[in-house]
Point group: C2
Chain length 358, copies 2
């Protein structure tokens, strides 16, 4: 069962919740825009479905609604930003703006963030670069759910990478992906439907293969992109590791199995080597490499050629990264957004807690 | 059947070949060092096995042994380098050095390269950053062999990404991976043994699945990391695309299905949108983010913790990216390097052509 809401209604509700948590109006607007962009783009696991989780982290004192977000170290093209334990939804776009400002002067800008929290969808932050004729990059570490190749232990999060690249008359190229075989959100959808997962998504606590989509509740783990060694899981493991190191070891956040868990009821790890979650952002000015119009006209050719690639039997077209999310956004921006009933119930509880109306 | 050679013997032979092609002594040394580092590290497909291929490209006029390698566009943290149709083995380390110099001044350096050729193993170039307490990044596009998700057409190369990250007392973290399920080199090994490939590595010309390791000779394609849509091949496709765009669209090289083919007998594509192959290099100075010693001591903790992760039954240890290649190098540096008989025969023909001794 799903309940339908307009974008405006979800946005206003999320904004009201962030205001009730004590955010400034500007921060509440920003956070709500980032959060609900996930629902718009069809990444339902990262939108309002997370809102009650943020509230619980705030109640547990792990999110500061009025953070002191500041640069603690910098060079002409880099910065480390301390997010002041703020909402990642606010810290991340601030940090991405610093990367963009550095790129304006220096050609590129690279910002590693410490002491932050879950930042919504990586794609939102990467896409901030597009209107400046820049390539945007965003990544974050996350609570450990993923075992390295040959292991059964939760050592990495689903650690997503997003890359947004401007084009001319074509829509931009936007990749936004977990470095696991499938995102945790896709697993959650299967759990709600009591459906099996394909082999290669998750593994039992003892390291054997399983189709049980709920196996994370039984000590199981998610698998890196590639699923098993024979199909390149060591590459997914390496990618997730790079995200962890760029986001957290470079910045001074907590990394690997010590990344702070998203559910507020899970105790914090012992002996944490850093503060909070970490993110990493990059902005590269196109005209630091070649004239932007020239690049964008080649991107149009690139995108057009890939869209025209010969489809395999049973498929009518070849997609370019970003197509599914953009098409979903076009539908949902003016239409309605379906929200799982369990999520709607969660939102009703949040509404009641703060005395606001959904 | 394999023939055994010492590192010194392969290095000297490769150097002599590059001198005979007309390279300066310095360039011949550099190119031989890059080439044979692949044999040392166990990436046999990218070492002396490629030497006769380079010679044929030179004979076909596609490699210039005395290239004019120069910066054609730059900003404080970026450059585009025209490789002058030189050996990628020479162009790539030159470009990586420019990235390192930019990082020294600016915190980070990013160099996109046009008009180049095959550059050996990406890991060599990324690792150049390590001795400077920098993170190194290297990628390249390559001849199209890989079909996007839902397609049967060769649109991308195996487009590798390498990332090298310094540590303190631990050896560095070095990831070096094709963005396909398996590298072309692994396929070639199966072809020589007349063995099957696992399902998910390659696909028939009609888009159906196959275990035929020789299917590329019959119009088949390689598959992006993830193998199929259900297991995340759209992510491997996106990664390969990002490598193509950063390496070739940013620099003005030829991209996608128009990337120049490695075998000299394959005609060049029509209507090429740029010049030669493209590469992309990055260098990030650690202390542009946090003091290098502090970072490296956290990397030691990171690496130690991942090596101590609980192994799955049937495995005695969990590897950190770079472990297998480093262990291979330790054996082969002072011992002998096995070379397939067919490769040794190829080298004998090259020796005869140039009147030199292997």
């Amino acid at each position: 069962m799903e309940v339908m809401y307009s974008y405006d209604r979800l946005f206003s509700f999320a904004r009201s919740v962030f205001v009730k948590m004590g955010c400034t109006d500007a921060d509440a607007n920003l956070a709500a825009g980032v959060l609900v962009s996930a629902d718009l783009r069809g990444i339902d696991s990262h939108g309002v479905a997370r809102l009650s989780g943020y509230v619980r982290l705030w109640e547990a004192g792990r999110i500061n609604a009025t953070p002191d977000i500041r640069i603690v170290h910098e060079s002409p093209s880099t910065a480390v930003v301390d997010g002041g334990a703020g909402l990642g939804l606010v810290v991340a776009p601030r940090a991405m703006n610093i990367a963009i400002e550095k790129a304006r002067i220096c050609g590129t800008g690279w910002v590693s963030v410490t002491n932050s929290n879950h930042f919504g969808i990586a794609g939102y932050h990467a896409m901030m670069a597009l209107e400046h004729d820049m390539i945007g990059i965003a990544m974050t570490n996350a609570s450990a759910l993923v075992a390295p190749t040959f292991s059964v232990e939760r050592m990495l999060g689903t650690n997503p990478i997003a890359v947004a690249i401007p084009a001319g008359s074509q829509p931009p190229f936007v990749a936004d992906m977990a470095t696991t075989t499938a995102s945790n959100g896709k697993l959650e959808i299967l759990q709600r439907k009591h459906a099996d997962a394909p082999l290669g998504w998750v593994q039992n606590a003892d390291g054997t293969e399983t189709v049980n989509a709920s196996v994370l509740k039984e000590g199981g783990v998610m698998l890196p992109l590639g699923s098993d060694r024979e199909h390149g899981s060591h590459k997914g493991y390496a990618l997730g590791s790079i995200v962890d190191i760029f986001s957290a070891v470079l910045s001074g956040a907590s990394y690997g199995p010590w990344a702070p868990p998203f559910p507020a009821y899970v105790p914090m790890p012992q002996d944490m080597p850093g503060k909070g979650l970490g993110h990493f952002f990059g902005a590269m000015r196109i005209d630091a490499f070649r004239p932007a119009e020239e690049f964008k006209s080649h991107m149009d050719r690139w995108i057009g050629r890939f869209r025209d690639a010969r489809p395999a039997p049973g498929h009518d077209r070849v997609l370019v990264p970003g197509d599914p999310e953009r098409e979903m956004e076009a539908v949902r921006r003016t239409g309605e957004i379906p929200v799982f009933e369990s999520v709607a119930n969660d939102l009703a509880l949040v509404a009641e807690k703060f005395g606001i109306v959904l």
